[in-house]
């Protein structure tokens, strides 16, 4: 793959892949390495040709495999930890806002961790990565109806978890 195309792919899709890996239970210290490994595939495979427009789908597939591999390693090492929101946040000048966002991310991660993998995948891609249902269907390789169904179930789980969380917060405050 020519270096210019490689640069373009990294610039376009790195954030997506990095976020995806961090939500696919790859441990925080490993996310950077995992993301780099995803893009290394592009240069290590000779004669690799990605169909124009399907770069994200290709990288997504690679990221799923890499995440699985990293999770297995982490499990073997028995050192799996939840992503550390303090590392995942971007720097903002307002400390209070940063703290609130950090807490919100931690809560979001906890909710996502409780979801089944296939529902979580659909939820992340649609709600957080701004992908359409047909795009997700193509990416994951399942019918659009299945994506919509998973999405509905994922939303229901998410809203239920949010309601429980809010109830706990209100209970704690009162």
């Amino acid at each position: 793959m020519p270096p210019s195309a490689l640069r373009h792919l990294v610039k376009e899709h790195y954030d997506f892949i990095w976020r995806l890996l961090s939500r696919l239970n790859v441990t925080t210290p490993e996310v950077d390495d995992a993301a780099q490994q995803v893009f290394m595939v592009l240069v290590s495979r000779e004669g690799l040709v990605i169909k124009p427009g399907s770069e994200r789908a290709f990288l997504y597939g690679v990221a799923l495999r890499v995440a699985k591999e990293f999770r297995r390693k982490a499990q073997n090492a028995l050192n799996h930890i939840s992503p550390d929101p303090d590392v995942l946040i971007d720097r903002a000048p307002d400390l209070e806002a940063v703290a609130e966002r950090s807490q919100a991310r931690r809560q979001l991660d906890r909710i996502l961790e409780q979801m089944p993998e296939n529902l979580k995948e659909a939820f992340i891609l649609f709600e957080l990565e701004d992908m359409s249902v047909p795009e997700i269907a193509e990416l994951v390789g399942i019918p659009t109806g299945t994506v919509a169904s998973r999405l509905r179930r994922a939303r229901a789980l998410f809203q239920k978890a949010v309601a429980e969380l809010q109830a706990r917060r209100e209970g704690g405050e009162s």
Partner: protein
């Protein structure tokens, strides 16, 4: 289908979703990946054929060169490390106790102890009651000598086939024939012999080789405190190599010969 963020009016749900959407990798990550991938692909490190060049003639030659270089470097750093263990005359514990603690290889034979800050070469007798052979100390080898030695080893290896310097025959066997040292340099170094373009490098390497061997013999004689043999070697060297590359090392031996023997 609308997104939950657009549908919901609940602030808490919106906050959670926005926090997820705005999540970004730490600054500088992308640049690091670009640099790593750029450098890696430029060097061909990510290719499955990255090491295939080692199978080519050039690759094999490079490997051979690296191996010879490493062997030469090891030889230059510690040329006498193989001399322990096989000498018939071992020093007594008292003799060993007097030697430097930096030299753990003294257990088998006469000791050659590099001594820092000693300009010359000294023979130190061990106490008369021990009955042990004298402990010989030599100065640290000059770096130019080490380089010459390594170069000679490489040249020798290239000329004779693949013979790493570390595989040289051990020098602690029976004493060499002192009267006939292996010096062929004066006859070989005549530049008129053969085609100049081809013969000169060979002649030069043979000369250096002979020089190194002669100095090796000096070391051998010094280790055994054989002053007579050492004197003969030094004289031979001066006669054969008036402008030799190992002059400094030989002059150290000459200085040692000039000193009176320690009782």
């Amino acid at each position: 289908m609308k997104r939950l963020l657009d549908e919901t009016t609940d602030d808490f749900t919106r906050a959670l979703l926005v926090a997820g959407i705005e999540q970004r990798p730490p600054a500088g990550n992308k640049r690091r990946v670009l640099i790593a991938l750029g450098a890696g692909s430029a060097l061909g490190l990510f290719s499955s054929q990255a090491l295939a060049w080692l199978g080519t003639s050039g690759g094999k030659l490079s490997l051979l060169g690296v191996a010879l270089g490493m062997a030469g470097a090891v030889y230059a750093v510690d040329p006498w490390s193989e001399t322990q263990g096989s000498s018939p005359a071992a020093p007594s514990p008292a003799a060993l106790a007097e030697t430097s603690p930096r030299e753990p290889r003294l257990l088998g034979g006469p000791a050659v102890v590099p001594e820092e800050g000693n300009d010359g070469v000294a023979l130190q007798g061990v106490g008369p009651d021990t009955g042990a052979l004298p402990v010989v100390t030599t100065p640290s080898e000059p770096s130019s000598t080490s380089e010459a030695r390594a170069r000679a080893a490489r040249v020798r290896g290239e000329r004779d086939g693949v013979v790493p310097a570390s595989k040289e025959p051990r020098r602690d066997g029976p004493p060499p024939t002192v009267a006939a040292p292996t010096v062929a340099a004066p006859t070989v170094s005549t530049p008129e012999v053969g085609t100049p373009g081809e013969v000169e490098p060979v002649v030069e390497s043979a000369s250096l080789d002979a020089e190194v061997r002669l100095v090796d013999d000096m070391h051998w004689a010094a280790r055994r405190n054989d002053r007579e043999a050492l004197a003969r070697f030094v004289a031979t060297y001066h006669a054969s190599f008036p402008d030799g590359q190992l002059k400094e090392e030989v002059s150290a031996f000459a200085a040692r010969l000039a000193r009176p023997t320690t009782p």
